[in-house]
């Protein structure tokens, strides 16, 4: 069929067609705002971050300790059994060195997002965060890192109460 068709529909425009107003268009900025209920599990997670601690949950059935916390074990489909305080350090499971913002503008200093396996949680269980105080070229998978917390007075009960994770020896 693609072999037989000579002309496919669809007209591509150039950026200049818009900037020079050769085509008409409307603009709209949606005002979509939300206030999400944190609930039991994430509510406690945030409250503990405010105290400078990372908390996880444990399922006695499959014996996994996971973070971020949830009230149910997704594998066993039963309630989690206990809250478990975890360490505020861990190991880099994977990382990236990101040179662009979401709108594809270049960043002066790259960001280093990473999945960090948190000590005290089951193997392979991590959270998403950023790395800091490190030369991007020095970052390795398997590297040990530790949370750098905001001062207690500045913590509000958010994931950003940890500024970033930095390497430790």
């Amino acid at each position: 069929m693609t072999a037989k068709i000579k002309e496919f529909p669809g007209v591509g425009l150039r950026e200049s067609d818009f900037t020079e107003r050769k085509v008409l268009f409307t603009e709209w900025k949606p005002d979509a705002r939300y206030a999400w209920d944190a609930g039991v599990a994430i509510g406690r997670y945030l409250a503990e971050l405010k105290e400078g601690r990372i908390i996880g949950v444990r399922c006695h059935h499959c014996r996994r300790t996971v973070v971020p916390p949830r009230i149910f074990c997704e594998w066993c489909f039963r309630p989690m059994d206990e809250w478990v305080y975890l360490e505020d350090h861990g190991v880099v499971n994977t990382f990236s060195i990101c040179y662009v913002q979401w709108d594809m503008e270049r960043l002066e200093e790259p960001l280093i997002p990473a999945v960090i396996e948190i000590a005290g949680a089951s193997k392979g269980v991590g959270i998403l965060h950023l790395l800091g105080e490190v030369d991007p070229r020095e970052v390795k998978i398997g590297m040990k890192v530790k949370a750098v917390w905001k001062p207690a007075a500045e913590r509000i009960g958010a994931i950003t109460d940890i500024r970033y994770f930095k390497p430790i020896n």
Partner: protein, 383 residues
């Protein structure tokens, strides 16, 4: 003759104006646990596929599908989202069982309406970006336009619409799941603040949070697992024109077509005789009346008179929204239709408690997606 499929489990949580103590995941989890217990199934072992219902902008999350498997026991199983009414999701689950490839399928729909800070802005974001949005009008004007035309064309009165509100809020007083039960008079509705003439504040259903999960099974499994399987007799769904410029402002064509499809499947010719009751969309008071007519539960223009006569009350000839509907239970966004269906299931099982209808065998649920859509779905159940 399609394969026979039944609802074998229902679960629900929330149904209140606010649910600040739980996250959406925890709300869904509670509904799921109850549904699986009710059905006697283990989701990790028995349920072969899951359908969830969501729209990104009502969740505040792009690709909300991401966040559903864990709390439903659906990790590493077939799961997909239907961005539609809860009843569309239900029908999607039903069709999967009909193929013969699946025996047990679950469907979930929920509302965390209380977490949306700018609901009318988001509703406006659903309108045509070129033709309609630049008018910068609150989208409730669409309901005003439609209500005005409907009243004018059929001779239905604002008083009759107000009676729907009074009836449904009264029914809700007897439904422990309902958030907005009240004893109110016709005058209260008529005198409430005008939103978009002729639609007043009390003509509109207030929003609520809640989650509903249902488990469907093919005949053999259903009979094995359940003492009171509720059988699916017919389903139908339809869209009319999305365009405000081209749609029919008097008749709910989407409802009429969806119902015809479901009636044909169920072999129902005279719905007002063959159905015992109905739970139908009442997002706005006039919508219950307009939908009754479209669903052929009465003749065109007759719904208002039936309400006046009390025929649609719990003790009437043909009860409509004995649960209290969205006006009495609260509007659960796209979960609303599944809330209507939940009531049909509970009534057919004889588990509706204080508002139980006597001798009911067959009931209809109809859901509409709300403003600015012309999208609806119908499901007919029998015990």
């Amino acid at each position: 003759m399609p394969k026979e499929v039944a609802i074998i489990g229902v679960g629900y949580a929330g149904f209140r104006a606010l649910t600040p103590e739980v996250s959406y995941k925890e709300l869904m989890y509670e509904a799921a646990v109850k549904a699986y217990e009710d059905a006697g199934v283990d989701p990790r072992r028995d349920i072969e596929s899951f359908v969830t219902v969501a729209e990104d902008f009502t969740e505040g999350t792009s690709i909300f599908d991401e966040y559903v498997p864990d709390q439903l026991g659906a990790v590493l199983k077939p799961v997909h989202t239907i961005s539609g009414e809860g009843l569309h999701g239900f029908i999607a689950a039903y069709l999967q069982v009909l193929t013969g490839a699946m025996d047990i399928v679950a469907v979930e729909a929920h509302s965390k309406a209380s977490n949306i800070l700018t609901p009318d802005e988001i509703m406006a974001f659903a309108m045509d970006p070129v033709y309609n949005r630049p008018l910068r009008a609150n989208p409730h004007f669409i309901a005003g336009l439609e209500m005005n035309r409907y009243l004018c064309e059929t001779g239905t009165t604002r008083e009759q619409c107000a009676l729907v509100v009074a009836k449904n809020k009264h029914n809700a007083l007897y439904n422990p799941l309902a958030a907005y039960g009240a004893s109110i008079a016709v005058e209260d509705v008529l005198e409430s603040e005008m939103v978009s003439y002729p639609l007043s504040r009390l003509d509109m259903s207030p929003r609520a949070d809640g989650a509903i999960v249902m488990v469907l099974a093919a005949r053999e499994r259903a009979e094995e697992l359940s003492d009171i399987p509720i059988w699916i007799r017919g389903v139908g769904w339809c869209n009319d024109s999305f365009s405000l410029e081209n749609r029919d402002w008097t008749n709910a064509i989407y409802a009429a077509r969806a119902a015809e499809m479901a009636y044909r499947m169920a072999g129902i010719r005279t719905p007002w005789q063959e159905l015992d009751f109905a739970e139908i969309d009442d997002t706005f008071s006039y919508k219950e009346l307009q939908h009754m007519e479209a669903l052929r539960l009465c003749r065109p223009g007759e719904a208002g008179l039936l309400v006046e006569d009390g025929a649609t009350e719990i003790g009437g000839e043909f009860p409509v929204n004995p649960s209290g509907g969205s006006l009495g239970m609260g509007h659960l966004l796209d979960a609303s239709g599944l809330a209507r269906l939940l009531e049909v299931v509970l009534q057919l099982r004889g588990e509706a408690g204080q508002h139980q209808l006597s001798d009911v065998e067959t009931g209809l649920a109809f859901g509409w997606r709300g403003l600015p859509t012309t999208s609806g779905a119908a499901v007919i159940l029998s015990n």
